[in-house]
Symmetry: C2
Subunit: 328 residues, 2 copies
């Protein structure tokens, strides 16, 4: 009997040793942000929300939940926070509306869901997931996406819900600057950060990626960035998951998320090498900037950015939270 | 003097020899099509329009024009033809509207333009090109995209322009089948072909890719397929250009166009090997089908499809047109 118990114990230990380490990595946007502009209160609040998202996702992974559930939960918390450019707290477009995009991808099956041009969906990432799981489609846009949302019971809210005074002020400032410079797009370069994203590796060794954004302040013409584009802002397969944040046009042109995973698969690059090369070389050479988070199936991760800062954090099996904003 | 003339002649000959061979490759959609269903008249008309698109693009390349101009011209001709599922002759969505998507990419600069959810733009590929060249954005959707179209003088038409009786009949049949089977999406699998695309290699060795579509018959909820997704339906870089046609959801999930180019770049696959592997293995393993055209900077090309047929054709420096529909 003792021998049997011993064998069972050994069996558990070996399972525990061979199981991949769970891991959650999140970002709350890369961009121009100086230490002096960020008040101590605001920094504390942002760090607290990042930590809350990490702990909530970790709780799911720690009890054997899926990477999909973990990234969904983490992104919902960041969407609900007013401090990030996603759902509540999203930036305003040129018409004074909040226009939301999101996408999610399941690495094991490469199923994906994406939504763009939403005005009333409280948590766009939940709609992206519903598109993935409850429709035969991958991408739905605009009013049609909201009709689908209603049909599957996704919560719609009055568009006023998304409004924060700070974002409204940013729009007014951007529009004043635009009038002063007589240039339509002069204010956009520095106005596109705050996108949120999450990657997770679960106990079964499966990866998932999710991204959600309000896009660029003062954006026009139904502009869509990289966040809802599978392969640009979000990608996940069996060995690699990526979520991006930055100047979306350049992330689309470089197919950033898929390119990182392709380098890992076809060239045998480490996740760190692949993410660094794309973020620090490919995107800047095209003229863009931003950052990504990237995670592989062994739990290795990278969080490169070529901007002043990127809200980011990670948590592993030990439950120790690490959160950072600048190049510490 | 004679020696100088000789040197100049040699110089020209060597330039002619080292110049990459110009090449245009087009498709008019892959799908389920049987020889018996296709009348001789219709086949002749389709072949004639494919040939017309090839000759028009070739005329541009032959006189030193750019690959971008050649793919634009070829796609405009296919959009204007009622025989393909793009612009004039596009399929109807579930609301009885024609809803159009397109994208274009310049390999040398990796600049790109994409549009989705259009109802009034006569030639979506011209709007995609205007987005690339006259805005700082890559992707515009819906009404906003049409506001931009107006602002840059792109032709808008009454939505009735796109209507053909044949496509209307297809919608009514799809909806009747749907009612009979009480399944919302049962008719969609076979209803998504006819997308058009073009790739070109110009005298400067530069590649371009373009794709335009009406999407799936009876589509709902602002569904967007792979055609306007840079990296999925369209991609071009310095060494590789791809345009896809097929079940868009699977083409997005596999990032088909970028994946083919990544295999060429990172693994050294030939364009044929890369295109075949993705179309004949990766996409079917996920559960999808369709085809692509792919072209490299040396003028090598591939046109694999895993469906019954794919409208396709190519023309090279010699001006000989080759057009095919089935596996001949």
């Amino acid at each position: 009997m003792l021998r049997i118990l011993g064998a069972i114990a050994l069996c558990f230990a070996s399972a525990a040793m061979s199981a991949p380490p769970i891991r959650l990595v999140i970002h709350g946007g890369a961009g121009t942000m100086s230490r002096t502009e960020l008040s101590a209160e605001r920094e504390q609040a942002i760090r607290a929300d990042l930590e809350r998202a990490l702990r909530a996702g970790h709780a799911i992974l720690a009890k054997g939940g899926t990477s999909l559930d973990a990234v969904t939960k983490a992104v919902v918390i960041l969407e609900d926070s007013p401090y990030f450019n996603a759902a509540k707290g999203a930036v305003f477009n040129a018409e004074g509306k909040n226009e939301l995009d999101a996408s999610i991808m399941d690495g094991a099956t490469r199923k994906a869901g994406a939504v763009a041009g939403l005005h009333r969906v409280k948590n766009p990432i939940l709609l992206a997931r519903a598109v993935m799981e409850q429709s035969k489609h991958v991408m739905l846009i605009g009013d049609g996406a909201e009709v689908f949302a209603k049909s599957v019971g996704i919560e719609l809210v009055d568009p006023k819900y998304f409004r924060t005074e700070e974002r409204w002020k940013q729009l007014k400032e951007a529009q004043a600057k635009e009038r002063a410079s007589a240039s339509v797009e002069s204010t956009e370069k520095s106005a596109y950060f705050g996108t949120v994203g999450a990657l997770a590796l679960d106990r079964d060794g499966k990866l998932a990626a999710a991204t959600s954004t309000g896009g660029m302040t003062n954006k026009r013409w139904g502009r869509v960035g990289d966040s809802p584009i599978i392969g640009a802002g979000t990608y996940a397969d069996a060995r690699c998951a990526v979520s991006g944040t930055g100047w979306g046009e350049y992330f689309i042109r470089a197919a950033v998320a898929h390119d990182i995973c392709a380098r890992v698969e076809y060239r045998g690059d480490s996740i760190e090498q692949a993410a660094n090369d794309v973020v620090m070389t490919v995107v800047p050479e095209l003229g863009g900037d931003g950052g990504v988070i990237a995670l592989d199936a062994a739990g290795n991760y990278a969080m490169p950015f070529n901007t002043q800062g990127m809200y980011r954090g990670t948590i592993g099996a030990d439950g120790n939270v690490s959160v950072a904003i600048f190049r510490d």
